[in-house]
């Protein structure tokens, strides 16, 4: 591998699920004030200390590639997006907990990203159905993140969370359900104490991506 310090992670999901907010939160440690539609791909970088505190501590730059668009886009848009899927080290799949369709579309997103990598000739598998076999020998770690948990009424949370647990199992992925909420941060102001909770959250997930 050419540059060991470089880790490329794709952030995929439908429009409006909160990918840009998530990336901004992870990299800038702030909540994104005015989210707007992502055209093409936006990249952000996070400095991460792998195995912090141990003698093998090493600093990595994690590049989070936030690819915009929807699964139903025209094939010209899909071909252009395929440019970003080269040599990926990990994939974060983001879905909206209030929108069932966005979870179902995650299958198609993962197929789009993985097939690009697995088949070097660039032939996209046209059959969009989900087949667990295809993920069986997948070496690229997946993480499924569900957003907007706070917008679900208390009583329905349990059923939503069980549904997403199945989803994560299908992918053989780790799962996290997030609340990206502006009010939380405003209460604590810009203080750092409010922040380590998030950092542990974020730090914990990203550690699982490194197993080389």
């Amino acid at each position: 591998m050419a540059s060991l310090d470089r880790v490329k992670v794709l952030v995929l999901g439908d429009s409006g699920v909160g990918k840009s907010s998530l990336v901004h939160l992870l990299c800038q440690n702030q909540v994104l004030g005015n989210p707007s539609w992502t055209v093409g791909c936006s990249v952000d970088v996070r400095v991460h200390d792998y195995k912090e505190g141990t003698p093998e501590e090493k600093t990595y730059y994690i590049e989070l590639w936030d690819v915009g668009g929807s699964v139903g886009s025209a094939s010209s848009v899909k071909s252009t997006r395929a440019v970003f899927y080269n040599s990926v080290n990990g994939i974060i799949l983001v879905h909206d907990l209030t929108n069932k369709k966005s979870s179902q579309n995650l299958y198609r997103w993962s197929l789009e990203a993985l097939n690009r990598d697995l088949v070097p000739t660039g032939v996209l598998v046209t059959n969009g159905d989900y087949d667990r076999e295809q993920f069986a020998d997948n070496q690229i770690p997946l993480l499924v993140i569900g957003t907007k948990l706070d917008q679900i009424h208390e009583t329905k949370r349990h059923e939503v969370l069980t549904r997403t647990a199945f989803l994560a199992e299908d992918f053989n992925a780790e799962e996290i359900n997030l609340v990206i909420e502006k009010r939380y941060f405003l209460r604590d102001g810009n203080q750092i104490p409010g922040f380590p909770d998030r950092k542990r959250f974020g730090g914990g997930t990203l550690k699982s991506l490194h197993y080389d």
Binding site: D14, S15, G16, V17, C27, W37, V39, G40, C41, S42, V43, D44, V45, R46, V47, Y61, E63, G69, S70, V71, G72, S73, A74, S75, S76, V77, S79, T80, V83, F84, D96, T98, N99, K100, K101, S102, N105, K148, N190, I192
Partner: protein, 462 residues
């Protein structure tokens, strides 16, 4: 007795249309979304069903199916219902949705939506004044008043769409206009895109590292809060943070560039696909059609100009005129009545089918274009509002196409439409259609010409 049979036939067909509209809504338009608002779906299906029934009645009129009096009754009923929905219900719902989205007015939703609706009705009424569409013998709340106004809006919309479609159709289908795109062009653009992304990444790495070292050294760079903070930040600012703002500006410029490159690459891919498509059999067929269409569109524009310049309105419909010409010049004996009925039926049927199909396709395209930006349920609600707006226009579109179809029908079939719709000044509508059609066609020619000229220059640069 026959009235009952006829009514049951009409109602069954209405239910069929309703079901079709419902399915279309579910499968095509909202395929990728979760629809929680059944109101929108119901309104769309109902409008669609009644509009299709109107067309169905026209066809029945030509074919002579069903009892004449029951036809007349159903016409009236249909028209009343559609107008009720278009003018009363839909604007009310639009106002209601808009108001319920604004947090402040949430409590008195009903009151404010009524207010909005009244304003809409006022403007709607005022719309009729500048146009010479009414003869003075009609009352205030008669059907003719409503139809005339609905007709104006609908005819404008139709003319705009036809004008643009008439120009855009040959432009899309004919391969003469396709620019030549090779694989190397695409690869070169992709490489530039990836290089730009790499530059952005390296700059962001520097920023992240700088921020981290600043943080570790204890210079937590807070945003200047309050008046005193702002003054302080003017005089003293850490060197690290100055650096940061500089790099941030560079990053912003690079990100803008990457977006441009992404869009251009998408364009090139789309053009390449179109080139490949044009080499196939289907593509060649459409190319040929494109030539036909362009001739037809040029003819239409020409006719519209002549109509306006010479202040002429077509008195006879094309079918009868065509038959007259054939009979007179070619000396062939035709049973005029028999053929005119069938040919006008086919012609009107084609017009109806293509206009419905065109409308559905336009709706779908428009919906996909605006829906690609967000997908949360709140935004779906906003889209539902826009959709309802569109349905309002769609209903008007259908009503006015009935008005215009009247021109393509022979004299004896026009009676029922004239009877039901009252004595509107039909000539005015035709003139208005021609004017708007001409304006729209010319402006879309200009627009497409500019867009076409601008695009190849961007690719000549590297």
């Amino acid at each position: 007795m026959s009235f009952l049979i006829d009514s049951s036939i009409m109602i069954t067909s209405q239910i069929l249309f309703f079901g079709f509209g419902w399915l279309f809504f579910m499968r095509q338009l909202f395929k990728d979304y979760e629809v929680r608002q059944y109101v929108v779906q119901v309104i769309f299906s109902v409008t669609f069903a009644f509009s299709c029934t109107m067309f169905e009645l026209i066809i029945f009129e030509i074919l002579g199916v069903l009892n004449s009096s029951s036809r007349y009754f159903h016409w009236k009923m249909n028209l009343c219902v559609i107008l009720l929905i278009l003018v009363f219900m839909v604007p009310f719902y639009i106002g209601y949705f808009i108001v319920s989205n604004i947090r402040l007015l949430h409590k008195q939703r009903l009151l404010f939506s009524c207010l909005l609706w009244l304003t809409f009705m006022y403007f709607f009424w005022k719309l009729g004044d500048p146009f010479p569409i009414l003869s003075p013998k009609h009352g205030i709340l008669s059907i003719e008043q409503l139809i005339s106004r609905v007709g104006v809006i609908g005819v404008t919309l139709m003319a705009l769409l036809s004008g643009f479609g008439a120009v855009n159709c040959p432009y899309t289908y004919m391969s003469y206009f396709l620019r030549n795109v090779t694989d190397t062009d695409i690869l070169a653009l992709e490489r530039r895109l990836l290089q730009t992304m790499d530059m952005i990444i390296s700059k962001k790495k520097r920023m992240a590292m700088t921020r981290r070292t600043m943080f570790q050294k204890g210079e937590v760079h807070n945003k200047p809060s309050g008046f005193w903070g702002m003054i302080k930040s003017v005089t003293t600012s850490a060197p690290g943070s100055e650096n940061l703002t500089l790099i941030q500006q560079e990053v912003d410029a690079l990100e803008e560039l990457s977006r441009q490159l992404f869009l251009e690459t998408t364009d090139l891919y789309a053009t390449k696909e179109r080139i490949e498509y044009s080499k196939t059999f289907k593509g060649k067929y459409f190319n040929f059609l494109g030539y036909f269409f362009s001739i037809y569109c040029v003819w239409k524009i020409f006719m519209a100009t002549i109509n306006i310049v010479f202040d002429r309105v077509g008195k006879t419909d094309p079918v009868t005129r065509g038959i007259e010409i054939t009979v007179n010049y070619l000396g062939i004996q035709f049973d005029v009545k028999f053929w005119s009925q069938h040919i006008s039926f086919i012609l009107v049927g084609i017009i109806i089918v293509t206009s419905i199909r065109g409308l559905l396709i336009t709706l779908t395209k428009f919906f996909y274009a605006i829906s690609s930006s967000k997908s949360s349920n709140v935004i779906v609600l906003l889209l539902a509002q826009i959709m309802i707006n569109l349905f309002d226009l769609q209903g008007m579109y259908f009503v006015s196409s009935v008005l215009l179809i009247r021109m393509s029908m022979p004299l004896e079939y026009r009676t029922i439409i004239t009877e039901v719709l009252g004595e509107l000044q039909f000539n005015f509508y035709h003139r208005w259609f021609d004017v708007i059609f001409l304006v729209s066609a010319l402006s879309s020619i200009l627009f497409l010409y500019l867009a076409h000229k601008q695009a190849p220059e961007k690719h000549m640069a590297p």
